[in-house]
Amino acid sequence: MEEVDNILIHALKQVGTEVSEETGSIKQFTSELIVEAVVRCIRVIDPGLGSALPTFLPPGMSARFRVGMSLAQACQDIGYKGEIGYQTFLYSNEPEIRSLLMFLVEKLPRESAEASDQPTGKSVVLQKAIAAAIRAQLAVPWLPPNCRLPLHGETQSPGAQHNFHVQPLSLPHCTKGPGKKQLKGGQGSLIYMLEDYQRDVLPPVTAQPSHQASVVASILEQHTAELSAAQEWDNEWNTQGLLSRLTPQEYRSRKLARLRKRIEEQLRSAALPCPESAFGGPRSASDLSELLQAFRGSAPSDHILTKGTHFTHTQKFTFTQVRTAPRAQHKHAAPPILSGHQSESDMQLRQQEEQASLQQQFQQLSALPCLLSCVHGGCVWVQVLDELKQRELGNSEKEEKMQVKKKTIDLLPDADDNLPKLQAVVEASAKRVVHLASQWEKHRAPLIDEHRRLKEICSNQDLESSRKLSEIKSLHDKIRVSTEEAKKKEEIYKQLVTELENLPQDVSRSAYTQRILEIVSNIKKQKEEITKILSDTKELQKEINSLTGKLDRTFAVTDELVFKDAKKDESVRKSYKYLAALHENCNQLIQTIEDTGTILREIRDLEEQIETENSSKTVANLERILDDYKAIRQENSALAAKVREG
């Protein structure tokens, strides 16, 4: 009982009732306390009902009566099904109060339902962390700058701020032995040079950017770029790559070729419509071919393409820059000679300025303006080549036709002889064709069968591989889903652990749950015992019934037997009388035993009733009722006297 009372008192304290520390159980609640508790609960459950009720009992008796009635009405409105009236509040007894309070406390709305609906996820965790950090910062009091301690350093006096400035880093990478052997001579030496550079000259990553803050920014940026590139590749491979049924390297090389073709086309189409650009004319042809060669020739493995060509491209572009600079000078030298307006010094100044600006452009690592100009010049050259090829083809065709006509003209003078000769030749060649055709047919048939058979095998394998691909995909999906679930569950677990630590610790739920489990097991044991006792009782009852039945039967039989003999013999008559008396007395004994049993049961019931009546302190209540009755009568007479006077 104490746990129930403790829970009730705790809940009432949470609602706002002022329960002093000494009241440990419901027995010690006074009427005022009961009224206050009930009214506060009602106010929480249903604010409309509760606002009309006062929290304390007024002193006047009739007012108290009225308050009691309205409270009882409110409780019934809320849904309390037990007997309730003004007497429950004014003349309380313990079991009724306990049941009423339990009902009300259960009706209190639960705040815990809202907390469990909070969504869990990374963003929520982050927001909670942000909120906690802001709270911590708000808790630190503001101090003027002269009084600041180092603990305020972060939030109240900022140090130097840097912008997020990223500089590209060159990272060393390993090329393993077998890779090197597959390379041709030129690339192999390039690899060796690259390795030597990385081994001896390349500074460590933290020394490459110019500023300490850029070190941090660049390293973080590099890492995030790698992570996102890996993720994108994974996505692409899982959606498109698996479908194309190529190995990753083949897929990558095919994609690379596709992209290169597109770049070339776009550059050509972009370069064509601008006939007059800054760098026209004689030079760029060789540059474009070298560039395209560089595109084509530098891709034996992916490694070199992604990292090495960065290096080779910068090499190329620095060299082309050196070459364009003198050519730019030449170009700019030409018009002044023709126009003849500018002076020599102006020209040189312009040249130098142009050179400086060009070098700047290239140093910014955008090689594209140079590339476009190269392509434009090279475009024209490629067109010329194409025309040349086409003309040569036309030429060769026309030569052949000419040869045939020449031969026929040679044969014409000797026409009569040559005609049958030609016919014979034609017939012979026709026969040869037929012979060859038949031979070909003989070869063709088995080859066609073979072709059909291989095609079937191929399609079967296609089916197999598509089925396996779908299996692989479903497995991938399952893996992904289960890893996501595992991660989510871990996060939820961490979140809940932190929440559990933050929860208030005043009410120990584990003690209650243990008691509840104990009580449940006790009840189970008692139920078993009760069933055992019931079965025992049934057994006993059955025995009693069978015994009484046997008794009756035996008595009936003996009775007849003895009665038959009793008519003749005197002693038998006496024994018959004794038998009847014995039977009578035994019956009485059994009867008294049964009566004793019933009377004992009644005693037990009456004792229980006495106990319950004792606990409901009726005597004290009756005395109070008598006193209140007397008080009401006095009030009535006082009011009547007032009415009579006024």
Binding site: P145, S157, G159, H173, D200, V205, Q212, V215, I219, H223
Partner: protein
């Protein structure tokens, strides 16, 4: 905390006792932290005597991987369990994890300060002085009779102090105070989440 392929490779080679024995491992960990925290770039930071026998390219890769891992750990404010689980997956032995974690704890505050110094921050207001003036008349209008405030905010930005002066009418000042109260309330709300 996710790590990219190259970082994982570098860390794995760092974990192997055959490539990095105990002393060179400790030296590399120290060097990595120091190279991040030093104000000037030191190209010779990897020229330690214990690190000379190791292949330089491998050494530089491990150094890159170690610095990236340190920065990611500080960025995510990873606790001991997160760092240990990450390193365990990459086959680090328990004592190497211990060495790394103790050095990490030593330098954590400085690294956090370094990371926090990247960004922008408007100047902070330290003090405010005000003056209430009454505008009686000027050369164009004979009777103006308006009060106005002269406010001077003493701000501090990156250690240097600066004064922001402005004038405003009473309504504008009320508006400003109302906005400040709104800002304070929204910060309170953000901390209640």
């Amino acid at each position: 905390m996710e790590l990219s392929e190259s970082v994982q490779r570098g860390l794995r080679s760092l974990a192997e006792p055959s490539t990095f024995d105990q002393s060179s491992y400790g030296v590399l960990v120290d060097v990595s932290f120091r190279s991040l925290l030093s104000a000037k770039a030191e190209p010779g930071v990897l020229d330690q005597p214990e690190l000379k026998q190791i292949d330089q390219i491998l050494l530089k890769q491990s150094h890159t991987a170690a610095t990236t891992f340190i920065l990611e750990a500080v960025k995510h404010n990873a606790d001991k369990s997160a760092i240990s689980s990450c390193l365990e997956e990459l086959a680090f032995s328990a004592e190497r994890i211990e060495i790394f974690y103790s050095t990490h704890q030593k330098h954590k505050k400085e690294l956090e300060r370094l990371l926090a110094s990247i960004g922008r921050c408007p100047p902070r207001i330290n003090d405010a002085s005000w003056r209430l003036q009454y505008h009686v008349k000027n050369d164009q209008v004979d009777k103006v009779n308006e009060p106005f405030y002269l406010i001077s905010l003493n701000t501090e930005n990156e250690g240097s102090e600066e004064d922001i002066n402005f004038t405003c009418t009473v309504e504008q000042l009320q508006d400003l105070v109302g906005k400040l109260k709104d800002a304070a309330k929204s910060v309170e709300k953000a901390s209640q989440m």
